[in-house]
């Protein structure tokens, strides 16, 4: 193996490495673009409880007591899988998925409902507000 061949081999590998690296960086930049698009599409909403807020990061968000629930409320008044929030055509819908205590929107018990901004959701003994996401600074 001559030295020129060795250098060329190294160059080939390096070129591939750099290319892979650039594409990885692109994937990272895409991440923020993707987030932006998601927020734009979903109206940038969140579920806010006293003292904390839950982001809505994917199209199906489970609210419940179970450890695998996306929004976990460790409270016995909440069922393991209590409600499911889904996005459809840019609008969030909340569905009761067999909870014991039911889902109340603005005081009304519902099986399924389309959420609007500033709707108050009662799940078990917890009260949440469906609202525009606020930055930490504004809270």
């Amino acid at each position: 193996m001559g030295s020129t061949e060795l250098i060329l081999c190294a160059v080939t590998v390096a070129a591939l490495d750099i290319c892979a690296l650039v594409l990885l960086i692109c994937a990272y930049t895409d991440k923020s673009a993707n987030k932006k698009y998601w927020r734009h599409f979903t109206g940038d909403m969140e579920l806010a409880e006293q003292g904390r807020a839950y982001p809505l990061g994917c199209d199906e968000v489970i609210i419940g007591r179970h450890a695998s629930a996306d929004i976990r409320i460790p409270d016995l008044s909440v069922s393991r899988y209590h409600a499911l929030m889904t996005i459809n055509g840019g609008a969030w819908t909340i569905t009761d998925i067999g909870s014991k205590s039911g889902v109340y929107i603005n005081g009304n018990l519902v099986k399924e409902a389309i959420l609007r901004e500033n709707d108050v959701i009662n799940i078990g003994s917890h009260r949440m507000v469906f609202r525009k996401r606020r930055d930490k600074k504004n809270v």
């Binding site: 750099i18 889904t86 500033n118």
Partner: protein
């Protein structure tokens, strides 16, 4: 909407990577006339540019996977045209055409899978399509084999089941909440249907005496299964997981014990005691890797091209010999990056995420079977490395599956044509108010 800077830099660096490879071919390669590498260079760069241009017609939030795909595919074109001698011969042309097919398949997969909501509603058709594939295998293939001969082209319908099976395994959270009571258990009917499908596929593979792609289906199913049992009605203990794993282990042991003779033979083969018989390919492959070393012998200088299946079953060794182990590892690394993109940039829907997991499972298991099999770490099976091995069906299907990954990266969210979310309105009397069923606790 897409960052033009990252588009241009991606194009540029993919071209640079290919150019470096082609320079390597020019200087280290074994060719008769300068025209041979020049034709390859032309073909590769043309395909690059054509695909870059084609991408502009697709509105995507992320193009990373597409760039990685074209990077890998053209690497593979260069590899395949260099085996034995640098020449754009008929095999290389065939591979080039399949590469183009793979790119088209990727676009098709992308368009087909972008809209997960509509795809979810078409689950029935996916099952039907798999059924058709199975019927095709049972009726059209020659005596118990996996191949359909259509004039000059031979197709492998079992390959086409793979993406369909991934789609069948993909699920949404809502779907998993639709439970029914069957005897004492809460079950999702669809999970039972899927289990049945898996069983049918297993039986089919058995019947065809081709267990090579069975692990791939198993991996897809396991990924799908694990992601389905996450939402049980009752609390899911670790005991359930352990017993499931134990059951799988028992099944595997039984399967090994009662496996047909030709499988048994492969499980207990000592390749070095029979280097001219059944261990020929593997022993030659290992010798080739050892001979190639870290940096390889140069494109076109290998001897492994004289061994049968050098372009698909033992392609990893062939690449190692000519380009060196380091470069072969990099090639695998690029494919892994492609699979790891959903880790960096998570899909936004559970359906797309489970689909990506299925693709990832299928690809890794297939690569593992091929590479570790040809290097005598596990039994040798005739599966292909996606994109690197020659083979039309495999290339097309792999392209389609990568299209599925890309679709998960740039999904159609706005699937009803509606406006972005709820405009701020004061809470009014709700029209969709339901009657009170139960009192709150």
């Amino acid at each position: 909407m897409y960052n033009p800077l990252s588009y241009v830099s991606s194009c540029l660096f993919v071209l640079i990577a290919h150019a470096a490879m082609l320079a390597n071919v020019f200087i280290n390669g074994n060719y008769n006339s300068i025209a041979d590498p020049a034709i390859i260079a032309g073909a590769v760069l043309l395909l690059d540019v054509a695909y870059f241009t084609a991408l502009l017609f697709f509105k995507q939030t992320s193009y990373t996977i597409d760039f990685l795909l074209v990077l890998v595919l053209n690497m593979s074109v260069i590899f395949q045209s260099c085996f034995g001698q640098v020449k754009f011969d008929s095999d290389a042309i065939k591979h080039y055409i399949t590469a183009v097919t793979a790119l088209i398949a990727c676009r098709v997969g992308f368009i087909a899978c972008r809209n997960y909501k509509s795809l979810q509603n078409k689950r029935k058709f996916i099952y039907i399509a798999i059924g058709i594939c199975i019927v095709l295998i049972l009726t059209l293939t020659g005596s118990r084999s996996m191949w359909i001969q259509l004039g000059p082209i031979s197709l492998q319908p079992s390959e086409f089941i793979k993406p369909l099976f991934i789609l069948a395994c993909a699920t949404s959270v809502a779907e998993q909440q639709k439970k029914h009571k069957l005897l004492l258990f809460n079950v999702v009917y669809e999970n039972i249907a899927l289990f049945g499908l898996m069983a049918v596929i297993c039986l089919l593979q058995w019947w065809c005496a081709d267990l090579g792609s069975l692990p791939t289906f198993m991996a897809i199913y396991i990924a799908g299964f694990l992601l389905r049992i996450c939402y049980p009605k009752a609390k899911l203990s670790k005991k359930t997981y352990i017993s499931a794993a134990a059951a799988l282990l028992v099944i595997a042991v039984i399967a090994f014990k009662f496996a047909p003779a030709y499988v048994q033979e492969r499980l207990h083969a000592d390749i070095w005691s029979d280097t001219n018989g059944s261990g020929y390919q593997q022993s030659q492959a290992l010798i080739a890797i050892a001979d190639g070393g870290w940096t390889g012998k140069g494109p076109g200088n290998g001897f492994l091209c004289n061994v049968a299946a050098h372009e698909n079953d033992i392609v990893f060794a062939t690449v190692c010999e000519e380009w060196g182990l380091l470069y072969a590892l990099m090639m695998i690394f690029v494919i892994l990056i492609m699979l790891a993109v959903p880790l960096i940039n998570p899909p936004r829907s559970y359906y797309h995420a489970t689909m990506s997991a299925g693709v990832c499972a299928a690809f890794t298991v297939q690569m593992a079977l091929n590479i570790f099999g040809s290097c005598n770490m596990i039994p040798f099976t005739g599966v292909t490395i996606p994109f690197i091995s020659a083979g039309g069906s495999s290339m097309m299907v792999s392209g389609f599956m990568i299209g599925m990954l890309a679709a998960a990266q740039s999904p159609v969210l706005d699937n009803t044509g509606g406006q972005p979310a709820a405009a701020p309105k004061p809470p009014a009397n709700r029209p969709n108010k339901r009657p009170v069923r139960r009192k709150a606790v």
